[in-house]
């Protein structure tokens, strides 16, 4: 069987990983370059091996090999071809293999880059990344094996196991390795079992957003292993200068970008598929992916202080450890959903290994950090509380408090159930009340911090740049908002901060462009191009801030001004929402092209003040397994989305229930998302000259200044 080749490839990758750990550690300790090279080669072979094994799973899904437990679970004869391929990450076992595969590709990227700047770090980078790689491969092999086949026990039960019936099943189970026993062996006397057809992917997961969402999320998760591995290598070697930060800056930025794109795709998926009018439900799984992004954002900012000023070294180590721990927990939670209940944790085969690994990783990293505290002393003191450094520290504190608030909301139900045996739900209202207000100072800092100079800013100069244009613009915006009838204090505060932060960014761009345009006589577009090109990090960062500002507009609009109504309409009847009238015309059955689903579609006409605008067709998909999906029909503009859902209907089609939302400004959110992506790409775009200068000149230039301050 082809999947046996895949299984063998995974086992070889697992063995290579273990060898790479041993060889790299030995090579580093004995100062034997040949062992390190050997470890590197062993690490390099993992990506091709895992590519092969992932391909065999895809092949199995495509050819309908239902003997394989995983294929029977995520694929079926009715599944479209594209989804058979993406079913590789449609279920838990396949997605863990997928995770390992992506990770091996990232590691290959690190191994192949130039080693010149980090010759001492590399053996330990190999060791740390391979420990993580081996952990995930151990999960794949021992606890959640996608290569397990189906077997039928003498008592008629159907289950998956890699190697078939064996007395080892009983032996292993009796000595407490029940989970491993179940993954590897079927109970004695079991016979092979092949179902007639597979179950296929859950309907909700068939949307393109859900197809692209996990890979981006995983790329983000996986990407953070690189800065984590370099940080640990720095601690292990005692080479705790900022080499690890400079080397991994772009990796971190890409990981952060992928995670951000993953979150955005998840939001868009929720908006387009789940049909509840919103995009973010503060679900445990969403939060689990958001938290590493939050601490990662803090990390991205605070490393700048270490690069520029040699400060906050311990803090940066702490942040990357925290981020990576949240990545591991995030992978675990998104994969198993165990937060929902302690009982599902007990049922999950990978729960205990995951928690054990997270615990060991945290303890080990923190212990390592504590042993190196002396090497991580700050090179400089803070000159003033009114400085970029202080602003960054405050911003970091805010990010961590927000991270903490989200963590409390996410994990509290578990503790409530464990400690007082009272299951509770922490829903959106908690986050609205707790996280919402914390965003206000964060946006204010986002606006002001880029204007505060390093070391010490003069209040007069800061006041001049921070207020001259942005101040009046904000006041004018507030007056306009008030004039058009906005009275909600949160909306006014939020918009004021957003307009302020946005104006600061635009002014910064304008000042830079004007300076370039005048002095070397560049044209306006060329001036803008060069401005960004010469300082990608700064202006990419500003672009990211602009994206966040635009998203903020969308969040305020949808959050504070969403309207909704639900009404049952007979044919020809009209409901009113906002300025719109929605008239029900008829119900129809639409051919779906898939044997396991039917589509019922309604035709509604939308008009505004009696003027017909367009016809919408909200529909519901009904699957033979009983699941239903109600995606919205949208009429969108930058002002608002009219979001129409078909809820239910009478069998004869004479009456249908509609749920209609008006989501003001929601498209600013998506636009902001795109700007955020562009900005990050600008900031991450390689700039060889700038890098080289950064490696040498900048730090040296900073050094005398640092001495002078003491």
């Amino acid at each position: 069987m082809v999947t046996d080749i895949g299984l063998i490839a995974v086992l070889l990758a697992f063995a290579s990983g273990i060898y790479a750990i041993a060889a790299s550690v030995h090579g580093a300790r004995a100062r034997r370059e040949d062992w390190v090279t050997s470890a590197r080669n062993a690490a390099l072979i993992i990506a091709p091996l895992l590519t092969l094994s992932a391909l065999t799973i895809i092949y199995s899904n495509l050819t309908g090999n239902y003997r394989l437990e995983y294929t029977a679970h995520v694929s079926s004869s009715a599944t479209p071809t594209v989804l058979k391929i993406t079913a590789l990450w449609g279920g838990q076992n396949g997605s863990l293999l997928f995770w390992s595969w992506l990770m091996s590709i990232f590691v290959t990227g690190v191994m192949l880059r130039k080693w010149d700047n980090n010759r001492d770090l590399m053996p330990y980078v190999i060791a740390v990344t391979e420990v993580i790689q081996v952990f995930f491969l151990a999960l794949v092999v021992l606890f959640a094996n996608p290569f397990a086949k189906l077997w039928q026990t003498p008592t008629g039960e159907i289950g998956g196991a890699v190697f078939g019936a064996s007395t080892l099943f009983t032996t292993l189970s009796s000595i407490g390795f029940g989970g491993i026993a179940q993954t590897l062996f079927a109970p004695p006397g079991s016979i092979p079992f092949t179902p007639a057809d597979g179950q296929g992917l859950a309907p909700l997961l068939r949307h393109p957003g859900m197809v692209a969402h996990p890979p981006f999320l995983y790329l983000g998760f996986v990407g953070f292993t690189i800065p984590y591995a370099f940080a640990m290598a720095a601690l292990l070697t005692g080479k705790t200068n900022d080499a690890w930060i400079r080397t991994t800056r772009r990796w971190t930025l890409m990981a952060w970008l992928f995670l951000g794109i993953g979150l955005l795709l998840g939001m868009r998926w929720a908006y387009d598929v789940l049909g509840w009018g919103g995009y973010w439900g503060w679900d445990a799984v969403e939060n689990a992916a958001l938290m590493p992004w939050i601490s990662g954002t803090a990390f991205l900012h605070s490393v700048m202080i270490q690069e520029k000023r040699g400060m906050l070294k311990v803090w940066n180590m702490f942040l990357i450890i925290l981020t990576f721990a949240q990545v591991i927990l995030g992978t675990f939670i998104t994969r198993t959903g165990v937060i929902s209940s302690v009982h599902s944790f007990a049922r999950s085969s990978i729960g205990v290994p995951f928690l054990a690994f997270t615990g060991l990783m945290l303890v080990g990293s923190v212990w390592l950090l504590l042993t190196r505290l002396d090497d991580l002393k700050s090179e400089n003191k803070l000159d003033s509380l009114l400085s970029r450094e202080a602003a960054f520290v405050a911003q970091n504190a805010l990010f961590l408090i927000i991270n903490l608030a989200v963590a409390i909301g996410t994990y509290f139900p578990i503790f409530s159930e464990l400690i007082v045996n009272n299951k509770i739900t922490v829903g959106a209202p908690y986050y609205d009340h707790v996280v919402g207000p914390l965003l206000a100072p964060l946006i204010l800092l986002m606006g002001v911090a880029p204007l505060v100079s390093w070391r010490a800013a003069s209040p007069q100069a800061l006041g001049r740049t921070a207020l001259t244009i942005p101040g009046p613009v904000t006041v004018v915006a507030l007056v306009i908002l008030f004039a058009v009838g906005i009275r909600n204090p949160w909306a006014l505060l939020g918009m004021a901060l957003i307009v302020y932060a946005g104006t600061v960014t635009v002014v910064e761009y304008a000042r830079g462009v004007r300076a370039r345009h005048r002095s070397p006589g560049e044209g306006w577009p060329m001036a803008l191009w060069n401005l960004i090109g010469r300082n990608r990090r700064r202006y990419g960062g500003y672009l990211v801030h602009t994206g966040i500002v635009l998203m903020g507009v969308g969040v305020i609009g949808t959050h504070l001004y969403q309207q909704e109504t639900q009404q049952a309409l007979s044919i020809g009847q009209t409901l009113a929402i906002g300025n719109y009238q929605v008239t029900f015309r008829r119900l129809e059955l639409v051919p779906s092209g898939q044997s396991d689903k039917k589509i019922i579609s309604a035709r509604v006409e939308v008009s505004e003040g009696g003027k017909p605008l367009m016809t919408l067709r909200p529909f519901q998909e009904q699957y033979t397994n009983g699941e239903r999906m109600t995606p919205p029909a949208l009429m969108g503009s930058m002002k608002e989305d009219l979001y129409v859902l078909l809820g239910g209907w009478e069998a004869d089609g004479s009456l249908a229930t509609f749920k209609v939302f008006i989501n003001p400004l929601v498209n600013w959110l998506w636009l902001g998302g795109i700007v955020f992506i562009l900005g990050t790409l600008v900031a991450a775009w390689p700039n060889v000259a700038e890098e080289r200068r950064a490696w040498s000149v900048e730090r040296r230039a900073m050094a005398p200044a640092a001495v002078r301050t003491r």
Partner: protein, 175 residues
């Protein structure tokens, strides 16, 4: 005298007008109230009223899905129950209290602010306060001079080379 008489009459008229006003107002309120009760008992509960109550509750079978947007059969039944209770004249608070008493705290979207669950509301603020305290302590320890001393008197050269250059260019061009 005439003047006082006129004043008394005017005052009397005012009292009368106020009295009438009160009567009209009470009447209006009473009829509004009656209309409300009639409406409630007449069973004209709209879907929006049901959803407004359901928003504060959770789906009984899924995790963390608000009841007003859930499509499962269990949720449809619960929403029907809400409709019946509202139609019978119960207030939204009474309906929610009923669900909480019957199914436990987990049906509430927003955790209760009593008992152990209240911690979830307290902890973030404890975290916020601790965070701010730590921030202040750390910033003080990081600062070169003891806090409180005016550090602004002499501004060290900005280390932000780029910004400085920009400022210089802007200044030069401004002239």
């Amino acid at each position: 005298m005439q003047e006082a008489d006129r004043k008394a009459r005017v005052a009397g008229g005012r009292v009368q007008r106020i009295a009438w006003g009160v009567v009209v107002l009470v009447g209006a309120l009473a009829s509004l109230l009656a209309a409300n009760i009639v409406a409630a008992q007449g069973g004209t509960v709209t879907d929006d009223q049901v959803n407004a109550v359901a928003k504060g509750l959770n789906c009984p079978v899924c995790e963390n899905v608000p009841l007003d947007v859930c499509e499962t059969q269990a949720c449809v039944q619960w929403r029907d129950l809400i409709r019946q209770k509202l139609a019978a004249g119960e207030t939204p608070e009474q309906v929610i209290a009923y669900f909480r008493a019957t199914y436990g705290d987990r049906v509430l979207q927003s955790p209760p602010n009593t008992g152990f669950a209240a911690l979830v509301w307290v902890l973030p603020f404890a975290g916020l306060i601790a965070g701010v305290v730590i921030l202040v302590v750390v910033l003080r320890r990081m600062t070169a001079r003891p806090a409180g001393v005016e550090v602004m008197t002499e501004v060290p050269p900005s280390a932000d080379e780029y910004r400085q250059r920009l400022e210089r260019e802007l200044e030069r061009l401004g002239k």
